[in-house]
């Protein structure tokens, strides 16, 4: 499969003013690729640089060193709008991304910006709202919706413009558990229906578990790149990186403290259950 995103030797420093350049780079020589159709999770603690990375991909931050290529187009000030055509982004706080007075208006906003004719726009907006299950709320004010519903509307806005890439920048971190699960399910479904490439920036271990591959960012550097199971097997190192442990890893550690030796490495919930049941029945 072709690479839809290529990032090479990307570095970025925040500036407080003309002369005042932050000494520690927010991103430090980061290189990776993303395949078309892949679900990539980028994890790291608050301040690790993962959101800076997401914003760089969309041309929201003018990085000085390195290159980003999206769909074969090298990201430069001249190509930034072409690149943004390909990327839909959802941020953490849904309240910060609404512009329309109604759900419908809001979803239409992206199409209006692309000068889509009204005759095309109306059905596309309706279809997008239906796709995310918000049809009955089409005429509601976005501010009257719950957090989960707001993020659905944000997703509808993305469905309407049909980008190749969806970036979720901690998009589920303010939702309640049910809202979080619903949203991830919806993203899974959209990804299948629309052949989206998904990049999710997260510190939610369950969200990362959905990914094909996980990148770990620490102090602006890419420190690890592997399948979720490989990452989850690292136990205490995850905690040091500011991440949570999968429940099965916590249970493995708690059992070891009590003189019971579970299998090493990452176990899924089902594997852990099976092993415990077998051990307990083994009398």
């Amino acid at each position: 499969m072709a690479n839809i995103i290529e990032v090479a030797h990307l570095s970025y420093r925040y500036r407080n003013g003309e002369a005042d350049v932050d000494q520690r780079p927010a991103l430090n020589d980061v290189s990776f690729t993303v395949q078309a159709g892949e679900w990539l999770a980028i994890v790291g603690h608050n301040g690790s640089g993962k959101s800076t990375l997401a914003k760089s991909l969309d041309g929201l931050l003018p990085f000085s060193e390195g290159t980003i290529t999206v769909g074969g187009i090298k990201l430069t000030p001249a190509t930034v709008w072409q690149v943004r055509e390909k990327i839909g982004m959802i941020f953490q706080n849904p309240d910060n991304q609404f512009v329309g007075a109604t759900v419908e208006d809001d979803v239409a906003f992206g199409l209006e910006n692309r000068q889509i004719a009204r005759a095309d726009m109306v059905p596309r907006v309706q279809a997008a709202i239906e796709e995310v299950g918000m049809t009955e709320f089409a005429h509601r004010e976005p501010s009257s919706l719950s957090g989960g519903q707001k993020q659905r509307v944000a997703l509808a806005g993305i469905v309407a413009i049909a980008p190749d890439i969806l970036i979720l920048d901690e998009a589920t971190s303010m939702l309640d558990p049910q809202g979080r699960r619903d949203m991830l399910e919806l993203v899974r479904q959209l990804r299948a229906d629309q052949h989206l490439t998904v990049i999710s920036i997260t510190h939610d271990i369950d969200e990362a578990a959905n990914a094909d591959r996980v990148l770990v960012i620490d102090d602006g550097r890419l420190v690890e790149e592997a399948a979720p199971a490989t990452i989850f097997a690292q136990g205490e190192r995850l905690v040091r990186l500011g991440l949570d442990l999968p429940f099965t890893s916590k249970l493995q550690a708690a059992l070891r403290q009590r003189g019971i030796t579970p299998p090493d490495g990452y176990l899924t919930t089902a594997e852990m259950e099976a092993w415990l049941w077998q051990s307990l029945s083994n009398t």
């Binding site: 608050n46 719950s146 971190s173 558990p177 429940f247 708690a254 059992l255 403290q257 415990l276 307990l280």
Partner: protein, 290 residues
């Protein structure tokens, strides 16, 4: 008793055509130095309920007692200062309320507003900074140079500087990373244990409820539909799921094993509780690996 609600009902815009009832006939009590978690779906009335605790909202009918304070529909705004000092409120995303030039000034603002001298308030500010885990080198810095998690600590230090006896927390860990969440929850636990603060925590994090709360209130559509210990409340997973509430991971795990035939003395709610019970019934325990 630290907190008691007696048949509290609250109606927004009561007596107008827009009237909507947000709380209906709520009664419960929290003992001195208790730790209450309030859970429920978005819009269930949790945030309305906690605003009754310092009379930001006064009951439409019924009575709220918080330690020596009594709040009724007739309570006027004249004498609320001592109550507001007694009940510290940490709202969602409290860092958005920071405004001073330096962290010390921001923390000292509340106590000065309540009549403390600048010197004493500054002294207290430095102390509170340490309490929330930031050293005194931060005192002279701008709160806006800090990371989100640090800003939230400063905002919480500002509430603690009022020296409240009851601390009300509305999703205090939302948006923090796992380490930030854990440190924040450990801070509240320490304040609860060491200084005897009564804690009221509104949360979606069932793991935190399982680990820290002594009592749990479940809200649905403005009603208190369940009240008890975490053990009691998490006992019935089907009921919780029907109410769109999660069960702690350990409990879910234990219930899956129960379906296979494992019998638990008491439903484990944390990894440690689960491991304890597993160890107790482990077959070769104490003989095989000598």
């Amino acid at each position: 008793m630290a907190i008691s609600f007696e048949h509290v009902t609250y109606t927004y815009q009561a007596g107008t055509p827009m009237a909507s009832t947000a709380l209906t006939d709520i009664s419960f009590t929290v003992p001195d130095h208790g730790y209450l978690a309030i859970i429920g779906h978005t819009g269930s009335g949790k945030s309305t309920l906690i605003q009754e605790l310092n009379a930001l909202l006064k009951p439409t009918s019924g009575t709220v007692h918080v330690d020596d304070f009594t709040i009724t529909p007739k309570t006027t705004n004249d004498d609320l200062k001592p109550l507001r000092q007694h009940v510290g409120m940490v709202f969602q995303f409290p860092e958005s309320q920071l405004f001073e030039e330096t962290i010390r000034k921001d923390i000292a603002f509340g106590p000065q507003n309540f009549g403390m001298s600048e010197t004493d308030a500054n002294h207290l500010a430095d102390e509170m900074l340490t309490t929330v885990g930031l050293d005194s080198s931060y005192a002279e810095r701008s709160p806006f140079e800090l990371s989100g998690g640090q800003m939230r600590r400063v905002a919480i230090a500002g509430v603690l500087a009022m020296q409240p006896q009851v601390l009300v927390l509305d999703e205090p860990t939302a948006g923090l990373d796992p380490r930030g969440r854990e440190e924040m929850m450990a801070l509240f636990e320490r304040l609860h244990r060491e200084q005897g603060l009564t804690i009221v925590l509104v949360t979606h994090q069932m793991e935190d409820v399982a680990q820290y709360a002594e009592q749990v209130a479940v809200m649905r559509q403005g009603r208190l539909v369940k009240f008890g210990t975490p053990q009691e409340v998490f006992q019935d997973p089907d009921w919780l799921r029907a109410n769109q509430l999660d069960v702690p991971r350990a409990a879910r795990f234990a219930q899956a094993l129960a379906a296979k035939g494992v019998q638990w003395d008491q439903l484990p709610l944390t990894a440690d509780q689960l491991a304890d019970q597993l160890a107790a019934r482990w077959p070769q325990r104490g003989s095989a690996d000598v």
